[in-house]
Subunit: 471 residues, 2 copies
């Protein structure tokens, strides 16, 4: 077994011509960097792969600057890779065919808040935490929250979701409009600020989830939601993972409008306790949140407690204050980094399957049995209300046999999810890692259709090439 | 001023070769018809245009049969136009370039109900009313309800919505997966039954709203919802349209999870009273519905009554029984046909603009002022909770000056909606009628992108050609 990058398709790197580098340097000065450390940081993410650095990194500050870089890239048939904060889990950021990384993190302005319409327009480099900080005074919030403090651009590119998706949907449901630099460097708008439209092809939804392969999103108009009148969070412990999952299935089937319903297994709690100095019981746990009016929150909590009790759930422990609540959710969001610290020097390979809710128990229980048998350290967190869970292995990157075993276990989880009518990725995207799974999932005709779209919108194959499909 | 069809782009009709007609007859027998009446019925819809009949109509009963027709069409470069019940309002069904209509109304089987996952898979010819009848025993329902009893295929093709969209979203939000016959007659699947996915381009969302121009949808997997524990409907009358709209704006901005919030003006109520033998006050009215638990429905109604009162709304009149409720909503759904009967022999041109909610009063008030000044009969219904309303003119198709005046008023409404950051069509689609407006709305770069997609997926331009964009 070789190092992870040896599994990637062999493709030629395309060189950035000196003429183009000179043009970028002339326009961007210090903001065009070829320093090894900068390139290295931009050629990786939170994936299992070693870095594949771009030849240069350009720090753009406006849509026009992005358009300039892409025009240059188009003229020279050089790849460009959009970069936010580098939290991709599937190798989206590796410059496998060379080229230039477009760092959008300085495009961090809130362009326009329309509180009266529950919309906001942001530059692509705004992070989700920054957004919620900056709109706090409006009484509105943006619910989508992947684990990392990702940029809205990155979240749109991977069709991200997180802990609130069970109630508020994913990026697919919450992006209204986009400003996009297309593959010939032209700026275009998709969508409007209206809540719905039947005006032609849904380009917004095509770009959301396209992982930088069709264009660079530079501005994003999002839906916002009124902060609920009442919020309450609780944890509940179960005798088994199965009991926690069965509780979730019942909650969803009853149509309870629960806002968050997260599973953590004992391993995840152990990591979180240590990292965030909590003292949670180390047993399968559901971390739940209810949003609504005082009466409706009470009613939801009551219904859910009844269901949990039927499945052997211990009494709810309530987060009584906003501070307690924040502490719990921060711990949940940091679980990835908490788990990494459980095995120093390890790399994490995180599965991301999502299945119809009635198949969730089967998907999780069989995966847990395999994980236990493997004796490789693992932990589980899951957006179980969506049927989505992450079983993550902590593997020694220098132990080829262990890496191979993990990849094998991952394939089994994906095959199981597909057999159960689910998807290989609920929210992380295809990137480099899941290209063969996409083919299994969507089938050759659908993937051929995706390729036709890719080739027609990006005939020179310069937009984050080698991702989603190999060529 | 000429008849409406004279406004269409001049294009050559492509003839169906005798060889292809023979192949269709051999395979389909009686189910391939060239009778004038059948062709005429399939070459129109509920639009302002005269019929443009296809050369033949094939009544398909399976995906394989559709694939056979499309393969034939691909081999001979002949247009195909999918047909459901013929309720399109924008000329989608006219065979402007000739070809074959594929009637899907016999594909009316519920393929699979997965009540435990809140999903159902239907053939494209199932109508929305049939679907809700057939799943009644599951305790679930499908909320999307355009005025007509349209097919799910037609609804997906136009990205339809209706009265429940303010709470449950549109077809874009409620289609999970599709079976599609693409332009070379190949069958493909998009999406899965999982609630969310980041697996490659969102082909499902690309086909939803593509108006038959990219492929023929033959099976559709939909989200279902638990029937609410409590439902209550009420009407409330206002001193002016503006007061009703201001009430709506406040409701949405407060985040009340209202399920339906429909505006009818006095003209619409007059028509509905006469057609459905009701005795509603002929004044601007909001027709509302609340879904939830008993407590939450009571709470929502209380909040909304307070807001309505502040804007001069009279006390709510409640629909106390399910029968009363059904009677009100049936009347609302029949308002289109009710209004047509107010001016015998007329044709109806219905606007469909949708704007951000804060601009809705301006959009409606200015449109009403123009309508009053025109002295042409009109009526208004609106899914005002979404910012979407239909101001419909009843025009004499033989009065060229009146037709021209209506078109002119329609252009003004669209221009106003675009100025107010909205869309030319909230739910009816582009079809033939709104091609120039799409260009104004989306801009040349976005429309060029749509064309690239069209050309790459349908290089022979056989899938409902001449719709969305002229060529």
């Amino acid at each position: 077994m070789n190092a992870p990058n040896d599994l990637l398709p062999r493709v030629e790197r395309r060189l950035v011509p000196a003429e183009m580098l000179a043009a970028l340097s002339a326009r961007f000065g210090d903001r065009c960097s070829t320093a090894a450390a900068v390139r290295d940081q931009h050629g990786r993410g939170e994936s299992v792969y070693d870095a594949a650095p771009p030849e240069a990194v350009v720090f753009c500050e406006s849509t026009e600057e992005v358009a300039f870089v892409v025009s240059q890239a188009a003229a020279h048939a050089v790849p460009v890779i959009p970069f936010g904060v580098g939290s991709s889990l599937e190798g989206h950021l590796l410059a496998v065919q060379g080229g230039v990384s477009i760092d959008l993190s300085r495009m961090d302005r809130i362009v326009r808040i329309n509180a009266e319409d529950l919309t906001v327009t942001v530059e692509a480099g705004v992070t989700r935490e920054q957004l919620n900080r900056e709109i706090k005074d409006t009484g509105l919030f943006f619910p989508i929250d992947p684990g990392a403090n990702a940029t809205l651009g990155g979240m749109a590119a991977t069709r991200a979701s997180g802990t609130n998706a069970v109630r508020y949907g994913t990026m697919k449901d919450n992006v209204l409009a986009l400003t996009v630099v297309n593959a010939d460097g032209q700026v275009m708008r998709t969508g409007t600020r209206a809540r719905k439209s039947s005006a032609g092809y849904d380009l917004t939804r095509l770009f959301v989830g396209s992982e930088g392969t069709l264009g660079v999103m530079t501005e994003i108009t999002l839906k916002l939601y009124p902060l609920p009148e009442a919020v309450s969070a609780a944890v509940c412990f179960f005798p088994s993972i199965d009991a926690a999952v069965q509780t979730t299935i019942a909650i969803i089937q009853m149509g309870v409008p629960i806002a968050r319903c997260e599973l953590l297994d004992a391993n995840a709690i152990r990591a979180v306790n240590r990292h965030s100095r909590l003292a949670l019981r180390e047993a399968p746990m559901l971390l739940m949140e209810f949003h609504g009016s005082d009466a409706s929150v009470a009613e939801q909590a009551d219904t859910v407690q009844g269901v949990a009790r039927e499945h052997g759930g211990a009494d709810f422990e309530w987060a009584r204050t906003p501070e307690e609540r924040t502490r719990l959710w921060t711990a949940r969001h940091q679980s990835y980094f908490a788990a990494l610290q459980m095995r120093p020097g390890c790399r994490c390979q995180s599965s991301d399957t999502c299945v119809p809710i009635s198949h969730l128990a089967e998907a999780i229980n069989e995966s847990v049995a395999e994980a236990e048998a493997s004796r490789i350290p693992y932990w589980i967190v899951g957006h179980v209300g969506d049927g989505n869970f992450h079983l993550s292995y902590l593997m020694d990157p220098n132990d080829a046999a262990e890496c191979a075993a993990v990849e094998d276990l991952n394939v089994k989880m994906v095959q199981r999810a597909l057999r159960l009518e689910g998807t290989c990725t609920g929210e992380h995207g295809i990137g480099l890692h899941k290209m063969p799974y996409l083919l299994d999932e969507a089938g050759p005709a659908a993937v051929a259709t995706m390729r036709l779209i890719k080739h027609s919108l990006d005939p020179k194959n310069i937009m984050n090439p080698g991702k989603i499909f190999a060529l």
